[in-house]
């Protein structure tokens, strides 16, 4: 108990660190995932090829390897002096975007083909059709897998702690190194993660129910 009280500021910073890392990379992942899913179903072959390559590359690379690239290659070659937070967000966001893309694409495939044909036949462009007709109807099917993906992302963000980011895992390591009781530290860290992941599944359950009514 007293580990938490003695190191409350550290725990709080760690918690906020994990939340902000998760939120930022989730936003990036969803944005990129939607874009790449659009590429993968587009009528333009080069875009489709790009989408497939993106997913294949990022989904099949270990996340730790992406972190190594983000922290030791990107600053050297492209943008020196980028903050660890931004680099970690990029690694997590890009990695997760490949999973989001596939979840969105599976949702797109559940919408009957006739919906797109009807939209095209009144003169809507591909982008209009996707944005106004297909994606709104795909959302409901995408929510459950998306919720799992974001929970996985929350836990994956622990890797950022090994790359000079302040977040929960990083705090546990810090306290552990100072010889604090390891059982208690783990308990509090685990509870903090649970708060975040339960919040995510709660939000998605709410969204699912909301969309059920809207139809």
């Amino acid at each position: 108990m007293n580990v938490l009280l003695d190191y409350l500021p550290e725990f709080r910073n760690g918690f906020l660190g994990t939340v902000s890392l998760t939120a930022a990379s989730a936003a990036l992942a969803i944005l990129l995932g939607l874009l790449i899913a659009g590429f993968r179903v587009s009528p333009v072959p080069p875009l489709r090829a790009f989408g497939t390559a993106w997913v294949t590359l990022l989904r099949n690379t270990p996340l730790t390897l992406l972190f190594l690239v983000a922290f030791f290659v990107v600053p050297q070659v492209l943008f020196p002096g980028t903050s660890p937070f931004v680099l970690a967000t990029l690694a997590l966001g890009f990695y997760t975007s490949s999973f989001v893309c596939e979840a969105v694409r599976s949702g797109i495939n559940t919408v009957p083909l006739g919906q797109a044909e009807a939209a095209r036949s009144i003169g809507m462009t591909f982008i209009q059709t996707l944005r106004m007709i297909i994606l709104p109807q795909a959302t409901r099917t995408v929510l459950p897998p998306l919720s799992s993906i974001l929970i996985a992302l929350t836990k994956n963000s622990a890797i950022a702690g090994a790359f000079s980011n302040t977040e929960l895992f990083n705090v546990s390591k810090l306290l552990n190194d100072q010889g604090r009781p390891i059982g208690w530290i783990f308990l509090w860290i685990a509870l903090a993660y649970l708060i975040i992941t339960f919040a995510i599944s709660g939000i998605f359950r709410l969204l699912e129910r909301r969309l059920e009514v809207a139809r």
Binding site: A118, S121, I122
Partner: protein, 261 residues
Amino acid sequence: MSEVSVTKSDKGPAPAGDPLVVLDNVNKHFGALHVLQDIDLTIRRGEVVVVIGPSGSGKSTLCRTINRLETVDSGSIAIDGKPLPQEGRELARLRADVGMVFQSFNLFAHKTVLENVMLGQTKVRRTEKKAAEEKARALLDRVGVGTQADKYPAQLSGGQQQRVAIARALAMDPKVMLFDEPTSALDPEMINEVLEVMQQLARDGMTMVVVTHEMGFARSAANRVVFMADGRIVEEAEPNQFFNNPRSDRAKDFLSKILHH
């Protein structure tokens, strides 16, 4: 085949308008199947052409090639003098001028009836919202579903949904309307309400291509009947001549199977 009682309009011979849809030597394959073979077809402005034929004869495919929902392998299709462009903005613009009604309605399931009819106007034609709504309501009244405007498509009967789909297509002020078996998915008691709307459209001078199994509609509303079999246009004639005195054996065989039992 149910004979549909629709008021016989005194349709004369085909109106002598200028050619609006021109298919020239169109060929299409689905794998090994040669689904459209050397199709030549000209549809004039104001004309109502009914396409009939046995299943698998390529009539739906023919209908869908006209707004390029199906691509063709060779030959050319022109609408109002302009050949169909490649997929992209220009094709989208052209499709807005070609109304399409599907067998399975395909109303946007997440939009209300009113929104279904407004969407094309506001997003494609860039009509102001208020004007679009006014027009949508007028069209819904015209097809007899004005009171259903705020419901979702799933809450409507098949006949009502199909009439909304016709209103949605009409909202774009199309030059020509394509009907791909519009009554084939309907319960028998709902077929007439849809056919009556189409009859009215035909009387108002809309250019129409109708793929159907409703011979009553073909008799009373068509200027011309196109009979297809095995991917070819076998016979083209005025409805009276076609139904009373078909020239080809294929058409005689088809008519004998559907008209007498």
